[in-house]
């Protein structure tokens, strides 16, 4: 077995445990340890990605228990690239927290590492109940991170977030229980096989369980009408946490892609295409609703949160189109939007501090120290987020639009995405002119921003620029990953054969 597969889980888990033990030590020690663990995670994720880039599906049987009985970790192209996106994002967020954003409590870095543990576990696991457990791990860590620093708005948003996710967890368990009761297994590859041989009489319960799972994943992915928790939670938490949460909606999108391509894909027998009537219309609705939120936002952080809703909708539109090209376009867009949204959250915080008492409210404010530099950074990030050329958002959206051309939904996809893109550009341009050009002489500016603070958002934009320069190879990789998803036989065979091989040994 290749132990590289479990490295992205062990690194943050061990770092988190070590950080608990070191809770009394000086902040720089904890930051250094956390940062080193995150950098090591980037290395491990890169190694894993190169290992699986030839199309091999790595299966890691925990405790060497054979596959359908024991729990497996599975690394294919999609899982590896999700781990890498998480690690790169985390490295940039660690850069921000090392500059003092973690000082409001002792356990920030612990929670941060455990969040990474949960995220990587959710991407790598090949077992449905284990997916639930890793969802809980990442949610528990996210509750702590969300509330970090306290305050009225944060507590109120946190209460909604926690209660909604607890109900989501309960629904997840109902779905898992019903699937187990009908199919007698929880291994996703094994589930896929047994679903194909399902008796028609048992179909109803399995369909109900599959749709319940869809509700849970839609809640995580912020698909309308289950997106209502997101703007409050993301808009009121601290900037590094909001930036890290840019990957959280993608966990839901990933779970939808993984579970429904594997278990309810086109070749999966009687329950095929279970969520097809729902996913695409709801995704387009999400884009539209999110855009109205972007237009109506009163604060830049809130606007960034609504842009996360829009990006979640755009992403699920691509996944909802369902064929290989659309999924590949979605994967490229997923990487782009994670980095771009994180950069916008970080920049909103820097601007908020520089604007003193008006903070990031979109009203006339004081003349900013280093105003031109900040405005330049805002222009770059806004270009990336809104999907204008020459940055990566444009390529991502263009690929999605192109992949929709053959679909019967083409007019809707083109109409909604193009109109909302235009409205998004207008909203961001209006915010920019409010923030930088409308001067209220009575307002007093805050402390001049430390230029080092701009490093993390600009690095994130730089990743986006690298995604434009290497768009060709990256898109080829996305296409290969999408092919693995559209034809899940290799995944199923790898998992079940790994089990068979150990059993006969």
């Amino acid at each position: 077995m290749n132990h590289l597969v479990i490295a992205p889980l062990l690194l943050p888990l061990l770092a988190g445990v070590a950080l608990i033990l070191l809770r009394g030590s000086a902040a720089p020690v904890r930051q250094a340890l956390s940062g080193a663990a995150t950098l090591a995670l980037v290395g491990a994720a890169l190694a894993l990605l190169f290992r699986v880039s030839n199309g091999e599906v790595l299966v890691y049987q925990l405790g060497n228990w054979p596959a359908p009985f024991g729990i497996v970790l599975v690394a294919d192209r999609l899982a590896a690239v999700m781990v890498l996106i998480t690690a790169l994002l985390a490295a940039n967020v660690a850069l921000v927290t090392a500059r003092g954003a973690d000082q409001a409590g002792r356990y920030f870095q612990v929670l941060f590492q455990l969040q990474l543990f949960g995220l990587n576990g959710a991407f790598l696991t090949g077992d449905l109940f284990n997916l639930f457990v890793f969802f809980e791990v990442l949610l528990i860590a996210s509750y702590g991170l969300l509330l970090h620093g306290g305050g009225r708005d944060r507590t109120r948003a946190g209460l909604h977030y926690v209660v909604l996710n607890l109900i989501g967890s309960t629904l997840f368990l109902f779905a898992v229980g019903a699937l187990y009761g009908q199919l007698g297994t929880l291994n996703m590859a094994d589930l896929a096989q047994r679903l194909a041989e399902l008796a028609p009489a048992d179909l109803g319960l399995v369909r109900a369980a599959g749709l319940l799972l869809f509700v849970v994943f839609a809640l995580k992915a912020a698909l309308a009408p289950l997106h209502l928790w997101l703007p409050g939670a993301y808009g009121h938490t601290s900037a590094p946490v909001a930036a890290m949460f840019a990957i959280m909606t993608k966990v839901g999108a990933y779970a939808i892609l993984r579970v429904y391509s594997l278990m309810f894909g086109p070749d999966s027998g009687p329950a095929a295409g279970l969520i097809d009537p729902w996913l695409l219309p709801l995704a387009l609705l999400t884009v539209a609703i999110g855009t109205f939120g972007v237009l109506a936002s009163q604060r830049l952080a809130q606007q960034a949160a609504y842009l996360v809703v829009v990006s979640a909708g755009t992403l699920l539109t691509a996944f909802g189109l369902g064929d290989g090209a659309a999924v590949a376009a979605g994967l490229y867009y997923l990487a782009h939007t994670t980095f771009a949204a994180a950069a916008l959250f970080l920049l909103a915080n820097i601007l908020g501090k520089a604007r003193g008492s008006v903070h990031d409210r979109l009203v006339a404010g004081p003349e900013l120290p280093h105003g031109q530099l900040l405005a330049g950074a805002y222009l770059l990030v806004a270009l990336a987020v809104s999907g204008l050329p020459p940055l990566s958002g444009f390529i991502g959206k263009w690929l999605i639009l192109q992949s929709s051309l053959g679909s019967t939904w083409m007019p809707w996809v083109l109409g909604v995405l193009l109109v909302t893109s235009l409205l998004g550009v207008m909203a961001l341009a209006r915010s920019g002119s409010r923030l930088f050009f409308e001067i209220d002489p009575a307002a007093s500016a805050g402390a001049a921003p430390c230029l080092g603070d701009l490093a993390a958002p600009l690095l994130l934009v730089l990743i986006g620029i690298a995604m434009v320069v290497y768009a060709g190879p990256l898109y080829e990789f996305s296409q290969a990953a999408a092919q693995q998803l559209v034809h899940p036989d290799a995944y199923v065979n790898a998992v079940l054969q790994a089990g068979g091989r150990v059993m006969t040994r």
């Binding site: 457990v133 528990i140 009225r152 507590t155 926690v162 607890l166 368990l173 229980g177 187990y180």
Partner: protein, 110 residues
């Protein structure tokens, strides 16, 4: 027996849903607790109801109880117990910081 358990799960779920839609944090917490009880029972019976059979397969043993739901429900109980503790603390903190126990942090106008 199956019918009785189904009715119990149904009643617990209905009460849980009703309570978690209330406007104050205490009923909401109670509702979440009832929901988690319901799902624990549901998971438990998913391996079918078996009486007086060991959860281990041996050679020659005809009847056995499915051990997996028991392991699953143990995990689910631990997680829901921890989350209930967390949400109780969060509700108390919200009460202290917002000055009331309404889930939206402000009394609705009458």
């Amino acid at each position: 027996m199956e019918a009785l358990i189904s009715i119990v799960v149904g009643i617990l779920t209905a009460c849980g849903v009703y309570l978690s839609l209330r406007g104050r944090t205490f009923p909401v917490v109670l509702g979440l607790t009832l929901l988690s009880y319901a799902v624990n029972l549901f998971l438990f019976v998913m391996g079918r109801l078996t009486i007086g059979a060991p959860p281990i397969i041996r050679d020659g043993a005809g009847d056995y109880a499915d051990p997996l739901p028991q392991a699953l429900v143990l995990t689910a109980i631990v997680i829901s117990f921890g989350m209930t503790a967390f949400v109780v603390i969060l509700a108390l903190r919200a009460r202290a910081e917002l000055g009331n126990d309404h889930v939206d942090g402000e009394e609705s106008p009458r």
